[in-house]
Subunit: 410 residues, 2 copies
């Protein structure tokens, strides 16, 4: 089953600025896929600080556990040496028992030997089928060639190599002027692919030539992640492999500690990539933004937003272009966060649908239906309680999602 | 779109024993449906105690709020007078603002006048579309006729009148001998109907001729509900109208306080009805029992079980007859309850699939695939941590679910 490019995909892969201090290479190792690249190596210069955010799954993969242990231990030594990231697609090396750890060790040792970077600074990720042994020998056999091919301009080939069943490669960039110097940010992601025999997994790698200490980098990344990647959902199923890493090479010689322009630029890149993941959601035909305001607090607003975004009945209504606001009332009611039926108001785009515990007297079904015909739909909820707000993003639930996940055997 | 009877339906509606002290009638009021009954009235003799469990939704319907208030207030007066339950299908009287309360008041006042039962002991429920005004006049116009038609043997007509998009009427019964006397339990339910323009809603009414004080009745009902109706899920979406009421007429003169035979018989009836709701789940072609053992505690076991049961990726794998145990690992990992990847074991029926953090050496894909071809599938999880256990029930997620909820406009 060849998948068509998502109807919600951007026109083309963006032109990402080179990030001084980081080089990329991709290769075809034949882990699972044939006739395409499936391994990427990124090598960073000494001075690079690295932060990461990973899946909270209790059954997370061997590479995730290895990255988390290394980042936790590296807080002190941080940028003394270079660093490397190796990612393969086609096999997630998850639920592979102790064999999974062996595979990670074999790969990181080989990368360390060939790149002359300490093994404690070599990170890996694997994405694809769960529970099958990773043929790490095929990857190890390519590391010399990858090392020889490293190129500052090859980030696009890296973006393609990490795809599994994505229908398009995902990239985003930003530049920001700080004190007359230009700081650049380039990021790539994969996620929510189609025809996956297992759950969608998400990998994100972002690089910048800014200078930032690891603790500050981690704090910034975690904070923005809560408003971007932690606010998207395709089907409420959490991967065992989700990984997001941010590498700051410092090559620009611009220290961005406390710089709000840099933080905003980074958030732009992360928001862009997170939206691209939703736009490539399995079977997606609609991109949905859910804005919740007036909640008791920001946490409650996010709980309501995600309850709406994860509701199969809301998602099928969106697929059917049905302005079925009763299902939104249902999803708010079940979320567990505070709600008062009679203070709630609901709009589709700028069309006020319901207020004061019932349908608005100004609402016309034809207006709601017109909003639902759009490819990009905004649902606004005002809880009418206090000042808490949050925005979350999702896609619709279609026959294609069932086809991808039920009709074709893994 | 006429819906076929669910492939998982029982052969026929069971022969329910009459319960002395309660009479039923059904009528066609034309609330929404034409050419079928859509209102049922049950009237109980003085001496009847009543307990109830209702949706926890923050946007619950006017009838639910009214029932909850009356049951809370009636704790003392309990069985001094008779009691009545009136249920309509076709309109849920939910998110109808203050008009919803007016409709409830008009109906309960009329029932009280005509049956000579205090309004505080008249309960109602409504199930169907959300957000449309309930044409309560059509219901009120039928109450005299309903009262005149009351019949102890008419519980089957009541079961049919409360159906919305159910594909079959649901009933279950049990009798138990206590001290040489027979105590009977008869119950009816509706839920998880198809082609519903709004979410599935569940209503359950159970009647017994046993004698039990209201507090004891409520405690028993709540406790069993946690192991039966609170352990089923079709699509993780919680209705604004879910109501479960248990009425004990006392006509058998058998006090069942502390009687474990009665409690077991009641649990059998409630389990049967809850399974019938799942078997009529929208688009369901497979009935799935998920047995979780070895969890840190019973609560954790239920959290894991419901995480598996609600996972779209697990449910689509079941629909596709795919023994995709990787998705079960994923669902356990994301649940938030304690799990250790390397102590976990997973079986489909009696086929051990995975253990010790990886696929079992004895597992053959053909064996797993054969289990998944069955209509009734059992998934067993041993967490390997402690003694917590729980069983939950669900159905698969199919194209028909999408068709019901997306392809047809409300």
């Amino acid at each position: 089953m060849a998948m068509l490019r998502s109807p919600l995909a951007p026109d083309h892969f963006p032109d990402l600025p080179d990030i001084a201090g980081v080089r990329f290479a991709a290769a075809a190792a034949g882990v699972k896929y044939q006739d395409r690249t499936d391994v990427m190596l990124a090598v960073m210069d000494p001075g690079t600080t690295i932060a990461g955010v990973f899946t909270k799954s209790a059954t997370r993969s061997a590479p995730v556990l290895d990255c988390q242990a290394k980042l936790a231990a590296a807080a002190d030594t941080a940028s003394a040496s270079g660093a490397a990231i190796l990612v393969n697609s086609g096999n997630s090396n998850a639920f592979t028992g102790h064999h999974g750890q062996t595979s990670v060790a074999e790969i990181t040792r080989s990368v360390a030997d060939i790149t002359n970077i300490p093994e404690a600074r070599v990170f890996t990720a694997s994405t694809g089928v769960i529970g099958e042994p990773l043929p790490h020998d095929r990857i190890v056999a390519k590391i010399s060639a990858l090392n020889n091919a490293l190129d500052t301009s090859a980030i696009d080939s890296a973006a393609h190599a990490i795809m599994t069943t994505d229908t398009f490669a995902k990239g985003a960039m930003a530049t920001v002027d700080i004190g007359g110097k230009t700081v650049s940010i380039s990021g790539i992601a994969k996620g929510s692919g189609m025809i996956a025999p297992d759950m969608a997994t998400m990998l994100v790698y972002i690089f910048t030539d800014a200078t930032l200490a690891q603790n500050d980098l981690q704090q910034l990344l975690s904070s923005i992640c809560d408003r971007t990647f932690n606010c998207i959902t395709v089907d409420s199923d959490t991967s065992t492999s989700d990984s997001l890493m941010l590498c700051a090479t410092g090559a620009s010689d611009v220290d961005v500690a406390g710089n709000s322009d840099f933080a905003m630029a980074l958030e732009t890149v992360m928001l862009d990539l997170s939206h691209q993941v939703v736009r490539d959601g399995e079977g997606a035909t609609k991109f949905v933004e859910i804005q919740v305001s007036g909640a008791m607090n920001d946490h409650d607003a996010k709980v309501h937003g995600l309850s709406i975004a994860n509701s199969p009945l809301v998602k099928t209504a969106v697929a059917g272009e049905d302005p079925n606001w009763g299902r939104i009332v249902m999803a708010i009611g079940k979320s567990g966060a505070a709600a008062d039926r009679d203070r709630l108001s609901i709009s589709f785009g700028d069309v006020l649908v319901a207020e004061k515990g019932w349908v608005s007297p100004t609402y016309k079904e034809a207006d709601g239906a017109a909003e639902m015909k759009k490819s990009n739909i905004t649902i606004k909820i005002d809880m009418g309680l206090a000042d808490g707000s949050a925005t979350v993003w999702t896609c619709d639930l279609t026959h294609q999602y069932i086809s991808i996940n039920a009709d074709y055997r893994s």
